[in-house]
Symmetry: C2
Subunit: 151 residues, 2 copies
């Protein structure tokens, strides 16, 4: 019974969390200090910027973010004049969200910085390793994860 001892620093969920936290908070400095955005607000902006106009529920599903978190971020962004709500005529429960001119202009500059940051990351890791990382992460993020171990 050579029982391999549990090692936190080899536990993938922990390593994923650490890597995400460090990388994310590093880039967070950009949109926080320079643009006064929170993470969820940046997430909403970047969704609208890259995926086009969409509803809050769609953003919530696409980003696996609590719908109430999205709702509050949208409210703030609307108050700041960065996002516009267009009530749908077909489904009166929903409203389509779209960037205002100010919102789009913010997205353009911020996404340029994001691109640069991403490039630096990939260069530091090595482009081939970064590409493999991206593929594996997408698998973890999107595809089905293993079921929880049955006890």
């Amino acid at each position: 019974m050579t029982q391999r001892a549990f090692r936190l620093d080899h536990f993938l969920p922990y390593l994923l969390n650490q890597a995400a936290e460090r990388t994310g908070s590093k880039f967070e400095q950009v949109y926080r200090d320079t643009y006064g955005l929170t993470r969820t607000r940046w997430r909403v902006i970047s969704h609208l910027g890259t995926l086009g106009d969409m509803t809050a529920a769609a953003i919530s599903r696409s980003s696996h973010t609590e719908k109430t978190k999205v709702s509050r971020a949208v409210a703030a962004l609307e108050a700041e004049g960065l996002v516009l709500r267009v009530p749908s005529t077909v489904d009166r429960r929903t409203e389509l969200l779209q960037l205002t001119d100010a919102g789009r202009s913010l997205f353009v500059s911020l996404s340029a910085e994001a691109d640069r940051f991403d490039q630096e990351l990939r260069t530091a890791l090595g482009t081939d390793i970064a590409a493999r990382l991206e593929q594996t992460l997408r698998q973890l993020a999107v595809d089905a994860l293993p079921k929880l171990p049955d006890k």
Copy 2:
């Protein structure tokens, strides 16, 4: 001026966050539902379990967790009788934290589940890919990240 458009779903910090969030919340079900632990409490337990007795500040540094977050987790764990504080005689600012018998027993069962979860993850990804992922994540989590792009 073929400007490559920013794509959120190719942005490494975003993918890292998504993968970490999904993986982490999946395993969180285990320690939350079965053992009533929060993520930070599990983090403290697993640090003490794998790295031995240490101070709150050491846990904070090792896990890149706010010291106030650690402080509160420790207070809760102490109240639940899972962690013991041993004031240091040499440095009277610090207190060494250690698992009680109950705490160690909890760690033993929980780390066994963590091992199983990790194994399932690695099997799902493929063991070689998982090993490469681990190495890359450690690099991102521990090593220096690229400086923020100069504007």
